[in-house]
């Protein structure tokens, strides 16, 4: 039983990371219709920037995030302006390929700036073990789960109540109609990239604090795809929940089926979901069949 609880606990932790990264994917897909293949690289870049801030100014966690998030949003805005905006009106395939190109560029630049060696980065979070019931947690793990909860709630409230959030849903539903009622679609796109970069920075810093800050951090972006697909590409809240599910599945597979299966169990889930329910658990159902 303890083994099971431990698996569930670690599953929720890695699932929270997947959920956060998947939220970033879903936010951009929802408002721009583009799968941002550079999301993992965004996570990596912002985590490294946060690491540099941390070593320079020796901040504790919350002040560190207060500095990191605006910088990340600025990066998101700049990337959108430089790479995505000029492609407005081009086919989706072309824009997605631009994000693939952007991904390898960001990855290369990050490794060239910070070098190929991993760093230990605790992001100013205490390291004494905390017990929740009988299960031991590192504070960083609890921060990660807490961050997912906060982000999910904030995301829900933003999309539900704020003017910008409602405009974003309008753009997602029908871009032309949104333009006609006076919503600046290009501004919505920029906001989506900024918010997505902000979520990416939270995910990146907390992931690095839990595991380590290494040049293969970008791979977490690809590993979050199962969560995005399971939640539905256009469901921000759904992908957060799906992240937890994928994290649990991975850890239970590893614990009870076999070591090697951890890495691919998520991708097997992708294939099954796409065959059975291509719009995911919470996504909108608009796939045409031919």
């Amino acid at each position: 039983m303890d083994f099971f609880l431990l698996l569930v606990a670690t599953g929720l932790v890695s699932g929270a990371a997947y959920g956060l990264i998947a939220m970033g994917f879903a936010l951009i897909f929802k408002s721009t219709g583009v799968v941002n293949f550079a999301q993992g690289e965004l996570v990596m870049l912002t985590a490294y920037i946060s690491f540099s801030l941390y070593t320079t100014f020796d901040l504790s966690f919350f002040p560190l995030m207060l500095v990191t998030i605006p910088i990340s949003m600025l990066i998101g805005l700049v990337l959108e302006r430089l790479f995505i905006r000029p492609m407005l009106g081009e086919p989706i395939f072309a824009i997605v390929m631009v994000t693939v190109g952007l991904a390898v560029i960001l990855r290369g630049v990050t490794i060239m700036i910070w070098g190929p060696d991993p760093f230990n980065f605790n992001a100013g979070i205490p390291t004494e073990v905390v017990y929740v019931g009988s299960v031991p947690f590192y504070p960083a793990q609890l921060y990660l789960i807490g961050a997912l909860a906060v982000m999910t709630f904030a995301g829900w409230a933003f999309l539900r109540f704020s003017r910008m959030g409602i405009a974003m849903r309008a753009v997602a539903a029908n871009e032309t109609a949104a333009l006609l009622v006076g919503i600046s679609v290009s501004r919505i796109h920029a906001v989506a990239w900024m918010l997505s970069a902000a979520i990416a920075s939270v995910a990146g810093v907390l992931f690095a604090a839990n595991f380590k800050l290494a040049p293969d951090l970008w791979f977490q972006g690809l590993k979050s795809f199962p969560a995005v697909i399971l939640g539905g590409l256009d469901s921000v809240i759904g992908s957060a929940a799906a992240g937890l599910i994928i994290g649990l599945i991975e850890n239970l597979f590893q614990g009870y089926v076999g070591q090697g299966l951890r890495e691919i169990s998520g991708f097997i889930v992708i294939v099954i979901v796409l065959m059975v329910r291509p719009y995911g658990l919470f996504g909108s159902k608009d796939i045409e069949r031919v």
Partner: protein, 348 residues
Amino acid sequence: MRTGHFKERTGQLVALSDSKVVWSFVALLFALALVAPFVLGNYQVTLLVSTLIAIVGAVGLNMLTGTTGLISLGQAGFLAVGAYTNAILMMDFGWPFWLSLPAAGVVAALISILVGVPSLRLKGLYLAITTLAFAFIINHVILYAEWLTHGPNGIFVSGAKLFGFDIQKGKPLYYTALGVAAIVVFAALNIQRSRIGRAWMAIRDHDIAARVMGVDLVRYKLLAFMVSSFIVGIAGALISLQIRFVNIDVFALILSIEALAIVILGGLGSIAGAILGAIFLSLLPEAIRLFFETFSDTNSSFYTTYVYEIRGITYGVVIIAFLRLKPEGLIGLWRDIRKYWSNWPLAY
């Protein structure tokens, strides 16, 4: 400008080319390719072999992504399947190369059915993600099926023979790659002008319209997957000959992106474009290396430390630059030049 040039029969419309100039240029290029290894040094020949393999792989991917419009981010997986099939059949089962080469293609094509069937309902981004997922699954299966693939130890490939020549180095390897590339390109050109190729293009342009016109979507999409993967599998087998040590690290995600970069750079849907793109992108890292080596030693050590990063950044820049500035690719550039040349001094 050519005038008085009429096409009166369907045969003339679908002919590969009715221009004697084009045929003589192709013949000239082929003759140059035949004498090249006698003129060039060992290093350049190795580079040419990589280029030829890239051409084979690019023609295969182009069939799926360019002609049929199905985006695949899983090329590395199929290359791995081809390379491993060839290596296992040659080294563990003692098959001769002339038999294990097509077998590599066949196995890759069979596995592509596994990818193709779940992908039939998917389009665009969903398909790209599924193929990506399959590439990961294939890599892990190869890593963990140690009884078959030797897992993380990899496989040494040696002693491949064809007509009594050792085809793993120098000129014999070059001629093998050249022969395979020539056959693949010729076959691809002919498939593209047949009913199958036209059906693929119809699916790419509008799948519902294609369905209405009587193109069986399931059949032709699966066929596109299979033919493309067959060719990519053969490219993988050639890679296993050249690198001599098949290991899963060779077939990383960056290879899939490189393949897509080649196809986009050359011009989607055009075989000549895929060839141009493969040549350009295989020689580009060399140009960059030369650039770094001409400058001081510090730059050179910077280059050797970050060779993969620099390469990745180059691919990224090339992809973005072409999508932004010239979405038709190199072949579009060539068409513009040709039009300008034949219409001069008129603009159109």
